[in-house]
Symmetry: C2
Subunit: 213 residues, 2 copies
């Protein structure tokens, strides 16, 4: 594989998407780069959205529809681009599925096996923030919490902010577990200004980006 | 589980769907019965159809989208109905996925693990016919061979009848392998008149259907 695969993981409001975009801007001046988001396969995306709205997905189906979306992007974009030497940045990778499925009581080993077709990233930046900080940021940005960010399908109709804190805490627990298991995980303290976080990331990546691999 | 799970497997043109319907008619007079077909989940079905038309599914994605459809039907219909005592007849079950995925070079163990959430049928009737007999029946019925029945996505644009024989032969090979491994498989010689096949099936099931389980 000639390219470089970089993943970003973290809870909603962790700032990981902003970090991914900032990193893309920086790499763009040095290497061919491609950024891909979770749940973005053209033909599956709408289906997931509809199904989520109706809250009709059971755990395994929830898991499989996301795996389908990922697999489609993986085989048609991520893998071919890596093969042709791109730096591929994934805003969420298989670990998002691990975390979201496991909080829905799907067997951890089953999910891991499900995604075993996907290669491990060279670097996974886990932007770790407390759910409280994440909520604070969402409030400041005056954006609404989405029902799925509050785990409405598993916690039911509790106030969104309460749901957010509960649901995201569970996700953090699983991320922390994965971080211990996966050697490609680099935990970055995300409870800091955007710029400081980005500086850390660029420092770590520096030599890999500047030298053609 | 109070109900009874009966699956039908076999290549296209094996007559397995007719057998499933005939069996349903018979059971209906004795027990609550529910018949479900492969690829029939309302909200996923259209997507699969579109994707197949465009021939845009890679192997793993092909596998996962079908697993999603199955999982949706399994969790929302098959399992609840079994729990409430229905006889559930599946026109194709997970073994169809095994066969179709494996001919597309998906790892056999991966597929088995993927479907490990699904319980084993009490009976799986494998209606075994030669691809030649199946083709003969399709010809007699004056129905067109569908491109996917000729494995167009893996064999390419060869004449449909030639593709049908090649593709279905590979499927038979895998079914035969599964039949040896799975204790719930009952291989039925399907190279015989519909009525004779159905008589065999009803004989085998007789005592299970007449006595409430």
């Amino acid at each position: 594989m000639r390219g470089l695969l970089i993943a970003f993981e973290g809870i909603d409001g962790s700032g990981k998407s902003s970090q991914a975009v900032l990193l893309k801007d920086w790499i763009e001046m040095r290497r061919d780069v491609y950024l891909t988001e979770w749940n973005s396969s053209e033909w599956i995306h709408d289906i997931i959205k509809e199904a989520k709205k109706k809250n009709m997905l059971t755990s395994i189906t929830f898991s499989l529809i996301h795996a389908t979306d990922f697999s489609d992007r993986y085989e048609r974009y991520i893998l071919p681009m890596l093969k042709s030497g791109f730096v591929v940045i994934c805003d969420r990778y298989v670990y998002t599925a691990y975390a979201r499925d496991v909080v829905r009581n799907v067997d951890f080993d089953w999910v891991k096996r499900l995604y075993s077709f996907a290669i491990k990233p060279n670097f996974t930046f886990y932007i770790r923030v407390t759910p409280e900080i994440a909520l604070e940021r969402i409030r400041k940005a005056k954006r609404k919490i989405k029902p799925q960010e509050a785990g409405i399908d598993i916690l039911g109709e509790i106030p969104l902010e309460e749901g957010f804190l509960k649901y995201q805490s569970r996700i953090v627990e699983i991320y922390d577990k994965i971080a211990k298991e996966e050697s490609n995980f680099i935990t970055i303290d995300g409870n800091r200004p955007l710029k400081d976080v980005q500086i850390d990331i660029r420092k770590i990546l520096g030599e890999y980006i500047d030298n053609s691999l």
